[in-house]
């Protein structure tokens, strides 16, 4: 199909675009490894005090940490994916060029972000994870099925993550600047995705709420699927539902934005 090949080309471009920054990638690998080590010891101390916190054993907690470091850049949990470029293009008016193209704006950016995610996974995510697997005891499955299910949830997680960031980026059509939105994205992303602590460990009603927010689809779901803590089909359904809702919302906002807003810069 013609348009399939277009978006494949866009995804390849997204992959290659991030692949050009080798020093940044190397620095990222180093940072994620160091943070992983710090977090692992923090978690181990915590799990020592409170064994089976959130239903995880110590090995599971360690696995969760290294998954977090692996997916941190992959899912652009604190932002910094395609939405960053999009915001900049809206702010400078460069978006006008994207709009006259015979392509769908949302699919275009989604494809680019999927390409980016794949590169971040391979270039930046895998190494810290392997480091963790070599030096710390992890709770990893030995059969192939959970790994395959993990790949599916990862794909869905990427789409949900993109959909959240795409909505945030579109707000720049009205706000004219993305600084505040980026800050909000970073804080909500890190906290509600469970980068600080697994969402399973959040207590009471607050925990109940946090576990049904769209950010739960990002790190918590893939981790639970890999470690067999949840039924994969439940995870797929949860992620797909949020993906559909958020992408549809993105479409609505996109059509409102392009209809009413003056394209900046004359």
């Amino acid at each position: 199909m013609g348009s399939g090949r277009l978006y494949l080309a866009v995804a390849v471009g997204g992959f290659r675009r991030y692949a050009t920054y080798r020093a940044a990638t190397a620095a990222g690998v180093f940072t994620n490894t160091v943070f992983g080590v710090i977090l692992v010891y923090t978690y181990l101390a915590l799990w020592d005090e409170k064994p089976h916190l959130g239903g995880y054993g110590q090995a599971q907690a360690v696995t969760y940490v290294w998954l977090g470091q692996c997916l941190y850049a992959t899912l652009a949990i604190q932002g910094g994916g395609a939405e960053k470029d999009l915001m900049e293009r809206i702010r400078t008016g460069e978006i006008a060029v994207d709009l006259y193209r015979p392509a769908d704006l949302q699919l275009w950016w989604l494809a680019g972000d999927v390409g980016r995610a794949l590169f971040q996974m391979l270039g930046r995510g895998v190494l810290p994870f392997l480091f963790g697997a070599v030096f710390f005891p992890m709770a990893l499955p030995t059969e192939i099925t959970p790994w395959l299910a993990f790949v599916v949830t990862l794909l869905l997680a990427t789409v949900v993550s993109f959909a959240i960031r795409y909505l945030a980026a579109l707000s720049v059509f009205w706000l004219m600047d993305g600084m505040g939105v980026n800050q909000a994205l970073m804080i909500t992303g890190i906290f509600f995705s469970g980068m600080v602590l697994p969402l399973n460990a959040f207590p009471g009603a607050f925990g109940e709420i946090v576990r049904v927010l769209p950010w739960a689809a990002q790190l918590q779901m893939p981790a639970d699927v890999l470690m067999g803590e949840t039924d994969p089909w439940r995870a797929y359904a949860f992620q797909a539902a949020w993906a559909v809702v958020l992408l549809a919302a993105g479409r609505l906002v996109q059509s409102a934005a392009t209809r009413r807003v003056v394209v900046q810069g004359g």
């Binding site: 013609g2 277009l6 080309a9 675009r17 006259y100 209809r259 003056v262 004359g266």
Partner: protein, 338 residues
Amino acid sequence: MADTNTDPSTQAGADTDAFIELDGVEKVFDVRKKTGFLKRERRQVRAVDSISFTVPRGEMVGYIGPNGAGKSTTIKMLTGILTPSGGRLRVAGIDPSRERTRLAHRIGVVFGQRTTLWWDLPLLDSYKLMHRMYRIPDARYRENLDRLVELLDLSALLDVPVRQLSLGQRMRGDIAAALLHDPEVLYLDEPTIGLDVISKARVREFLRELNAERGTTVLLTTHDLQDIEQLCSRVMVIDHGRLMYDGPLAGLHEVGDSERVLVVDLERELPPIEVPPARVVKVEGPRQWLAFPAAESAAVLVARVAAEYPLVDLSVREPDIETVIAKMYAEQAERAIS
């Protein structure tokens, strides 16, 4: 508001060659201005105010005006990314804002200050993307790419990341990207902005050839009047969203009521020459500057000066359109005041 529902039967019969048609097109923006802590004042800005013109297939037209005149707004409506507030607009018989994607396959756009190229990747990657985006058949893509690479001298640049290209190189790269799918019309928004003399000449020469050989319709907005002088036989002047002039370039001079200047070098210093209707505007030693109406014959004037004064050398300076347009604006403003 202009009537948008003309009888379709008469439309087809009228000027079938009109490729771009604007009939009373308007674009009104709501601008909110802060007037107090929480108070906002709503004001309407008419960026384009009832503009009508047609461009036949294969013509190369200059679209000029000062900053904020409404040039870019017009182009954005022609590409379909802005919807007109009123009036009727057709490009190749298509309403751009309704069928933006369908029209996109038939038009090419180059914004001088924006780029369609993929910033971090080699130039060729952007062209591959165009190949997929416009679904260009493989054979035609290769043929067009080879031709554009040759004409725009891009062969050494194809593997260079776009961010490393100079402005002139990037501009040529952008023009090629806009033409890979054989568009019937090319909109150029300030294509020579910021380019050096050689790059400008190169871009202009390419555009001339494109128009002559492939019959591509070209609409060119620019601040550089040399672009217009060298490329366009027809020019439209827009200011405050209104079309102030539409006609041949030469006609601008008459409208602007402009003057040419005859510069004469005499054998020695002399009192100002008297040859009406010319008048001396400047004297510097033996050199004198005589202004005379642009419509008058320079030959007659020169003959008279040569007969009555000791003439050594002379030259005639044509008015530049810049002055003509500036004059036109000034007159418009005067009329508005009185």
